[in-house]
Amino acid sequence: MSNFSFLNPFGVLDEPGTYMGDFYSNNFARKAQAGNVILNLGPQHPSTHGVLRVVVEMYGEYVVRSEPVLGYLHRSHEKMAEHKTAYGFLPNMGRVDYLNAIGWNWAYAGACEQLAGIECPERAEYLRVIAAELNRISSHLVWWGAFVLDLGAFTPILYAFDDRELICDILQRVTGSRLTMNYFRFGGVGADGDDLFFSKIRDFIPNMRERLKMYKALVTDNVILRRRLEGIGPMDADLCVRYGATGPLLRAAGVPRDVRRSIPYGIYDRFDYEIPVAETNDNFGRYWVRLQEISESLKIVEQAVAQIPPGKHIVDKAPKPSWKLPPGESVFSVEGARGEITVHVISDGGKSPYRVKLRAPGFSNLSVFAEAAEGTILADAIAILGSLDLVIPEIDR
């Protein structure tokens, strides 16, 4: 306290340890070099997408060191699972990652089905694919808008939300909600798609393809954007593998790993689509991979809607809310919008699962940041942070 001066309010370090801050920044400042500035990005800063806080040590405009501080949005989902029935934990899955609710739905439902040996009807599998891919598109759209917003362009996010609303309308038709969707059930899905649902999707696909062209002209081809992204924030495959980063990050580093291909689940092996891989290994690669994934997802949805067979959307005798998981454990991975979502369920045959471990891709993806942002200027560090596609509730769980 005594070291605080109004001439030096931001804590420029004359000698280490004189910075006035909370525990994290003080601890972080201990290793700082004299003369460097400790800066808190967040937890309330708009460009950190939610309540992420990153403490950075700055040498002038350059980032010397950084450290993410987590836990501002911890809701103890894993602990909740130990107190609810297996079925009762399903709605939580829509809340772990609010942008990719269906991906989490699938990971948890898949793990429990694997453990109990429940097979889904054919139609349910198709409905799952349609919902998951639409959800992936909407998640990427929000990321796209927010990322470009981080870089200083305001208009694109309005277009992104415009298209996302259409997806929300479609998914609301079957799930009943627009954000925290709880669609999957053990052995199927909650509701069958009606004619309006499918006709809305059929309208949406060409519409979205047109919009993607517009996105390309408006943003992707923009020289300012290119200059902000190309060659910035290198994350090579080695770095990604060391930290366990998955999803578009890993694919932008040239590793064609996508759970839909490498460990096929559901009926993904029936569709014709590509896994976009970029070799450039920079911010622009990650940007390009995600936009490419939108069009690949559109392809999958198109095929799924064309092929969907008639039938039931959920198995007969589907588990009731009081259903008990059989004893044992199972691990199930799906490809979420941000990377590999894994759910590990352990059950001792009791009323609630014994333990549920949720592996959030965002957590590993964020841990890359400290190393990737080292030595960049602050504005580029923000661009790198944006390119990771972070959703804080998922990281904190």
């Binding site: 079925y87 038709r173 925290t180 709880n182 909650g190 300012i224």
Partner: protein
């Protein structure tokens, strides 16, 4: 050479700027897509599949009678413990059917598990309150009020899978009234 490439760069930048301006300009003259909430509300077709707070379905013979047989399936299956059903001494029908909307995650377990299809999601979008107590809804009373307000326009709309919204859309003063008032269930129609 260096100067030439600098000029070329600037021209390219100018071009991409122009493209952006053209696109934004085109959208500027297109009709408005957003709904300006208090003055304007979402059209009812869109709400047909929206899950609002629970309501009791109308009875099959006597509309103001609930179909609920107090079997407690919904109360036991609910992950949020938001339902309280108390059976009456005489018959099967409940005397109390309380629903705590503050705890509800709108998961649909109760609706799916109910053997008599007595519960359904309403499409009330504008239910707000400043106190927790006001969001504990007495659904039996709510059912009576709805039935008193008039019969349903379409047949079969009382079943959970019916996509027809009840006449829930507030008129011009609706949303503000609901927003400002402390009474929980918003005014009918």
């Amino acid at each position: 050479m260096k100067m030439l490439s600098a000029i070329w760069d600037n021209l390219k930048g100018l071009y991409s700027l122009l493209v952006g301006m053209c696109i934004t300009g085109r959208y500027f003259f297109q009709p408005l897509k957003t709904v300006h909430f208090p003055r304007d509300v979402v059209e009812p077709e869109n709400l047909a599949s929206y899950r609002g707070p629970l309501e009791l379905a109308r009875g099959k013979t006597d509309e103001s009678k609930t179909r609920c047989i107090s079997c407690q399936m919904c109360a036991k299956g609910c992950p949020g413990n938001c339902i309280t059903v108390v059976k009456s001494k005489e018959g099967k029908n409940p005397v109390t059917w309380l629903y705590d909307f503050t705890l509800c995650c709108l998961c649909g377990a109760c609706v799916e598990v109910c053997p008599t299809a007595a519960i359904q999601f309403s499409h009330r979008l504008y239910l707000v309150s400043t106190s927790r107590e006001a969001l504990v809804l007495d659904l039996l009373k709510d059912l009576e009020e709805r039935v008193a307000a008039g019969p349903l326009p379409a047949a079969g709309a009382g079943t959970p899978d019916a996509k027809k919204p009840e006449a829930r859309m507030p008129d011009a003063g609706g949303p503000q009234k609901a927003a400002g008032g402390s009474a929980a269930p918003d005014p009918e129609g």
